[in-house]
């Protein structure tokens, strides 16, 4: 946003240094796991601490792909994650507006519910939830899992989105209303476009959450053909802490790629919001 000012050189240098520090902190461990995915089992179990593998091996990837039906579970995960993302975004948008803008008890009740769901340990909800799903014959189905994921991401998406709504100055809406536009039109044409960056961020959140979620999938799904990617990945953690580090690292690297593709796609939209704002101003 610093469009109107020249930043002094020392500040720029500092900025790059800080950015470099963040990139090192966030990026180095990622490099390390990528490197681990190309190391042989012998090297992973040795005392060497080299970023570049002594000997590049690709067997971790072939093991990961062959042995644990990684691809079919990735397919399940993708279906689940995309459905969760779409449904969650659709139901979040109107309700978050209601939470942020409308007065009274709804807002208070909503806030308490949101926080309570987040604080109450999930472990205690699992069994009642399982029984509800069984009653609805939704246990051991991907549909049931999707509905549960939507519900479990809603508190957070609502919580964040109502924050973004609150950040939209009321004056903009009021101006729209004075021009005689209906509330609905004000929402669609004035408020929602301003919420786009926030919506993209929450969409990223729902996708990644559903893509990576392990525990609910573990207890709600029984049939191996429905397993999602995190369950399949965890199969590399055997009994007695016998972790197959190499294939696990390879699987994790592969499992990260779809999320990154979705990220870069949504990221553009996220930045697009900024442009729209700038054009309007």
């Amino acid at each position: 946003m610093n469009t109107n000012m020249k930043t002094p050189l020392p500040v720029t240098v500092l900025q790059y240094l800080a950015l470099g520090g963040f990139l090192l902190f966030l990026g180095f461990p990622v490099l390390w796991i990528v490197s681990a995915s190309f190391k042989s089992s012998a090297e992973l179990n040795s005392l060497s601490a080299n970023l570049i593998p002594n000997e590049w091996v690709f067997t971790n990837f072939t093991t990961a792909l062959e042995r644990q039906n990684l691809l079919s579970s990735a397919g399940n995960s993708f279906l689940v994650a995309v459905s969760t993302m779409v449904i969650a975004v659709i139901v979040t948008l109107p309700m978050s507006y209601a939470l942020a803008r409308l007065r009274g008890k709804l807002r208070a009740a909503g806030t308490v519910w949101i926080l309570a769901t987040q604080v109450f340990p999930q472990i205690l909800i699992i069994i009642p939830l399982f029984l509800v799903l069984r009653t609805l014959m939704l246990n051991d189905t991907l549909l049931g899992l999707i509905l549960v994921y939507v519900t479990f991401t809603l508190p957070f998406t609502l919580w964040m989105m109502q924050g973004y709504v609150a950040a939209v100055p009321r004056e903009l809406e009021d101006a729209g209303s004075m021009d005689g536009a209906s509330r609905f039109k004000v929402l669609v044409h004035i408020v929602f476009p301003l919420l786009r960056p926030g919506l993209m961020a929450t969409a990223m959140f729902t996708f990644v959450s559903a893509w990576n979620e392990f525990f609910l999938a573990l207890v709600l799904l029984q049939s191996p053909e429905l397993f999602t990617l995190p369950i399949t990945l965890r199969a590399f953690l055997g009994a007695e802490g016998q972790t197959q580090l190499g294939p696990l690292a390879a699987g994790a690297v592969l499992a990260t790629i779809p999320s990154l593709i979705v990220f870069s796609f949504l990221q553009k939209k996220l930045t697009g919001g900024m442009l729209a704002g700038a054009v309007k101003g």
């Binding site: 089992s41 012998a42 179990n45 040795s46 005392l47 042995r67 008890k105 009740a109 699992i126 069994i127 009642p128 399982f130 029984l131 509800v132 069984r134 009653t135 246990n139 051991d140 392990f214 525990f215 573990l218 207890v219 029984q222 049939s223 191996p224 369950i231 965890r234 199969a235 590399f236 953690l237 055997g238 009994a239 007695e240 802490g241 016998q242 972790t243």
Partner: protein, 427 residues
């Protein structure tokens, strides 16, 4: 408005509670069922993750299925990680499979809660006679056999033969090796760059409890909810000896006491520790991962004052009591318990078969190589341990035993304080 809301809340509450209770009572619908042609289908949830193990299990199931067209077994592949959480949800939710693969220390809880069928009538005499009593003890709850014990691990000391030779120590042979001997070799092999012993005790509880019977350390008496703890000299012997090696002899690498077993293997391969105590299954990893020319040997079973005893915690196969076909499921287990099948599973997982016939097959097929001779020898000292039967052990282990042992092995508290913490933390 307010009253309306509270009524609504109450209704929901009742609905939730009702759903919970209603389904808890009707938990009989789990497992497989009957297909249209009258054949029974049994769901068999297996956790085995090694391809060779999966093949051995599949082969046994295929052979059963072709012999028994009326009772078909279907394998449901699951994983070890999170297996307990999955099972408890399945049991409580009434969707547990008919045949359940797990391990003794964790499955006993389900037996105490009434979810597992008694196998003692359904297993043949040969099957029962094939397994030593000590191991049956580990899967016996209220005089009922609640699981078939298949394979297990023991703790075994491994040594870098070259480092022992450099130090002028002869590699011990024979039926057993005393703790004193272990300490002596550790001292003899310790140099400026090398610790005599590396022991991955980051979570020390399992190792300490497993080795305690060697000195007559029982910890618990009684079973179920009425369990007394006693932490005396016998119970403290194992941690005290480890502590002594680490802080008095300075022959045990104290850093290794905060690591996992696999972490210490790296030091073992790297030649910075001369010996390491590991789960016996690590022998298979050593055969794969050790650097070329690395000369490792398995040492004889560790012997305490009471003998080379270790607490047995075998992998298990159980039958869901709410299965509609308990009898058929037990019959399948009896078939599954053949020496050939278990020997194949044991070799693929690098574990010790519980049954004597399978152990013989493994001994013949491996020729005792790659440490198998010493590893199989530890099976003779396998006993049932009281902690398996103590309700509340799992929580005590995580919240009291592990932290207290970590503090003691980190030289933060004395052995008296350790004993007090363990005793006060129970119940």
């Amino acid at each position: 408005m307010n009253s309306k809301k509270s009524i609504g809340a109450l209704a929901l509450l009742t609905a939730g509670a009702f759903a919970l209770t209603a389904c808890q009572q009707g938990s009989a619908s789990g497992g497989g069922g009957d297909s249209e042609d009258g054949a029974v289908t049994l769901q068999f949830q297996s956790l085995s993750d090694q391809p060779a193990t999966q093949e051995a299990i599949q082969a046994a199931v295929d052979s059963w299925n072709s012999d028994n067209p009326d009772v078909q077994v279907e394998i449901i592949q699951a994983g070890w990680d999170g297996a307990y959480d999955k099972l408890i949800t399945q049991f409580t939710g009434g969707t547990a499979p008919d045949i359940i693969h797990f391990e003794a220390a964790s499955i006993v809880a389900f037996a105490q809660d009434g979810y597992l069928a008694d196998l003692s009538e359904g297993l043949s005499e040969e099957t029962i006679a094939d397994i030593p009593e000590g191991i049956w003890d580990s899967v016996t709850v209220n005089d009922e056999i609640i699981a078939y014990p298949s394979t297990m691990q023991s703790y075994v000391a491994f040594a870098n033969a070259d480092l022992l030779e450099e130090a002028g120590v002869e590699v011990p042979t024979g039926d057993s090796m005393s703790w004193d001997q272990l300490a002596e070799i550790a001292e003899a092999t310790t140099t400026d760059d090398v610790y005599g012993l590396g022991w991955g005790l980051g979570s020390p509880a399992a190792t300490v409890m497993t080795l305690a019977p060697g000195f007559g350390g029982d910890f618990f008496s009684g079973s179920g909810d009425d369990v007394q703890i006693e932490v005396g000299d016998a119970e403290l012997e194992v941690p005290e000896r480890i502590h002594e090696m680490a802080y008095e002899d300075e022959s045990l690498d104290p850093v290794s006491l905060t690591q996992s077993g696999s972490d210490v293997l790296a030091s073992f391969y790297g030649g910075t520790v001369a010996m390491t105590v590991q789960g016996s299954f690590q022998a298979a990893n050593m055969a794969n991962d050790a650097p070329e020319g690395f000369n490792w040997v398995a040492l004889p079973p560790l012997e305490g004052s009471e003998g080379a005893l270790q607490a047995a915690n075998p992998q298990t196969y159980s039958v869901n009591i709410d299965s509609e076909h308990v009898e058929e499921a037990t019959a399948f287990l009896d078939f599954f318990a053949s020496g050939q099948t278990l020997a194949a599973i044991a070799q693929a997982d690098a574990l010790i078969p519980a049954s004597e016939s399978a152990r013989e097959v493994v001994a013949t097929e491996t020729g005792g190589e790659d440490g198998w001779e010493q590893i199989l020898a530890t099976a003779d000292g396998m006993v049932g341990a009281p902690f398996l039967q103590a309700n509340g052990y799992a929580e005590w282990k995580e919240t009291v035993l592990n932290p207290a042992l970590q503090q003691y092995l980190g030289d933060q508290i004395s052995s008296e304080e350790l004993a007090t913490q363990l005793t006060d933390g129970w119940g």
